[in-house]
Amino acid sequence: MKERSHFRRSLINRVMLGLTGGATAVAVIILGLILGYTVIHGLAYINLDFFTNTIKPVGETGGGMRNEIIGTLILVSIGSLIAVPIGLMTGIFLSEFGSRRTAMIIRFAADILAGVPSIVVGVFAYAIIVRPLHSYSAISASVALAIIMIPVVARTAEESLRLVPNSQREAALALGITRWRSVMSVVVPGAMTGIVTGVMLAVARIAGETAPLIFTALGNAFGFNGLTKPIGALPLQIYQYALSPYKDQQQQAWAGAFLLVMLILVISILVRWLTTKRRI
């Protein structure tokens, strides 16, 4: 009787431990499936035309997403231009100046803002920019992306600034330089790798965001013509083509997805390389 119960216990042990390994495998396999399909389909349909041509109307074959690629680059650049200073300054405040309570409130706000669904951010950008200007615009989409980006940059900047040893701050102050110089020329450079990592992660996130662009950027087949005019974006075009009944457009969607996935893969691997290098 005792032997049998021991046998049962060790059997359950093995089965359950095996299942946890299986769960990990499932998660990794799903990733493999998504990446695999995207790469295989994307490689089949991507070509030089995709980068140099504009989108073609239904019925014509070929065409590319030049304008949408440029549009995404513009949106991400302006979004970063808005979000990085705000995020970095917030991170500096949280790690260097904030009293315990103020910092806690702001950290909490950052976490909440990071959890706000991107579609709600899009509605917000619509309400504060698109409606007053009476036009869908590149700037409203950039602001929406910046709002998504700020908490990510702020929290990673804070985390990496905290890793800078206190002795460096003390040494800087002991030299007689002011607090702000010691922050800007000793602490921030010391945390630069981490800050850059955070910015890259945030860029990777907003580059693929679609939901906030639907009613801010809207899409524009004729390319960029001013910040207050509608603009096309890669993820937005992928979304529209994915729902299209035409084979040709679906193929373009796969090609666009491939490009986006490659961008994000490269950023993620770069980030991992940077962070593991720092640990050693």
Partner: protein
């Protein structure tokens, strides 16, 4: 220091005070005595900006007053964005709240032409798809987290964690694209027909099989929340002190018994927080769900039926909404979504914080 602030000081004496401060500071370092000189707190500085002598070589002290407040301004900007979101969405939703009132939550039709706006099917769809997503995601993510913390050999731990986090980095629209062309056909043909043939007596698995519907949306959501639940519960498991495991193993427990009776109960609140964070993500997820849920608008028990979530309703109709009331009612939906995710995230944060407090007290 406060009293010094009030006494009238000319620039010369204030400079002297500063040099005293510095010497105390450097002495503290030299003697290895930790003097807690809070330079960080701007209130501690005895000099008011107007009294700074700019010929003094320490004139950039002014910046020490300005800079912390400058960074505080940006930090508060983020809080302001959050507050503005709540206020502006509330104001914009007001016309529809006035016009529609409570029937918004119980009405089943959404007809902009007749100006009938009922959000019940969208709310139902959000809850149902998030629920399916959680049911699928919880065992997989907990299993993966347990494997990564308790079992995985060192060489596997880093790469496996990285791959699972990679899943979170893939844009929603690409998962949706994959969902439309790869997942939905698989769900329609072997998966749903199997469920219907074997479990068809349950109302959940009855009705026509489209492929795209609540089930597809739930599976897609599961894929998208697995990384966050895994990552947060992995951190929670890591925070469990090793003595807990050693004590249990010393009693003769198997590893699985150690995990279920000692490790998991210890980090319960962190795990609950992880699941709630996943729920928050699932409720707000838009693109991938919009692409596979099939855009039906009805209340039905069938998981195979096309449906709508709050987020996909907004994504699908916002650009076409014309009248103020229809825009207002979509903004009201956004406000509902915002409120739900706000509550869910606050609750999750509290759970995770409780866990990290346990960790801190251990350190």
């Amino acid at each position: 220091m406060r009293s010094l602030n009030k006494t009238p000081t000319d620039s010369l004496s204030s400079a002297r005070i500063r040099s005293i401060q510095y010497s105390v500071f450097s002495l503290g370092i030299m003697n290895g005595v930790k003097i807690n000189l809070k330079v960080s707190n701007p209130e501690r500085f005895p000099i008011k900006p107007g009294k700074v002598d700019f010929r003094n070589r320490n004139y950039n002290r002014l910046s020490d007053l300005v800079f912390p407040n400058f960074t505080l301004f940006f930090a508060l900007l983020m809080v302001a964005i959050l507050a503005a979101m709540l206020i502006i969405l509330s104001i914009d939703a007001w016309p529809s709240v006035l016009k529609i009132g409570f029937s918004f939550f119980v009405n089943r039709t959404w007809d902009p032409v007749k100006e009938i706006f009922g959000a019940l099917p969208a709310i139902y769809g959000t809850i149902l798809s998030a629920f399916i997503g959680l049911i699928i995601a919880i065992p997989i993510s907990l299993g993966a987290a347990i494997f990564l913390v308790e079992l995985a050999p060192g060489w596997l731990r880093g790469p496996a964690s990285f791959l699972i986090e990679m899943l979170a980095a893939i844009p929603s629209v690409i998962i949706g694209l994959w969902g439309i062309f790869v997942l939905v056909p698989v769900i329609r043909s072997p998966f749903e027909s199997w469920l219907q043939n074997n479990l068809g007596f349950i109302p959940l698995f009855q009705g026509p099989r489209y492929g795209s519907g609540f089930l597809a949306a739930g599976i897609i959501l599961a894929i998208m929340i697995i990384p966050i639940i895994t990552a947060v519960s992995r951190d929670a498991l890591k925070a469990v002190p090793n003595q807990q495991r050693e004590a249990m193993l010393a009693l003769g427990a198997t590893r699985w018994e150690t995990i279920t009776r000692s490790v998991l109960p210890y980090c319960r609140s962190g795990l609950v927080g992880a699941v709630i964070l996943g729920l928050g993500r699932a409720v707000g997820e838009t693109m991938a769900v919009t692409m596979v849920i099939g855009n039906g608008y009805k209340l039905t028990a069938s998981l195979f039926s096309p449906g709508t979530t709050i987020a996909s309703k907004i994504a699908g109709e916002f650009a076409e909404a014309a009248t103020p009331v229809s825009v207002g009612s979509l903004i009201e939906l956004a406000l509902i979504l915002f409120t739900i995710t706000l509550l869910v995230n606050v609750i999750a944060q509290l759970f995770v914080w409780r866990m990290s407090k346990v960790k801190e007290s251990r350190d």
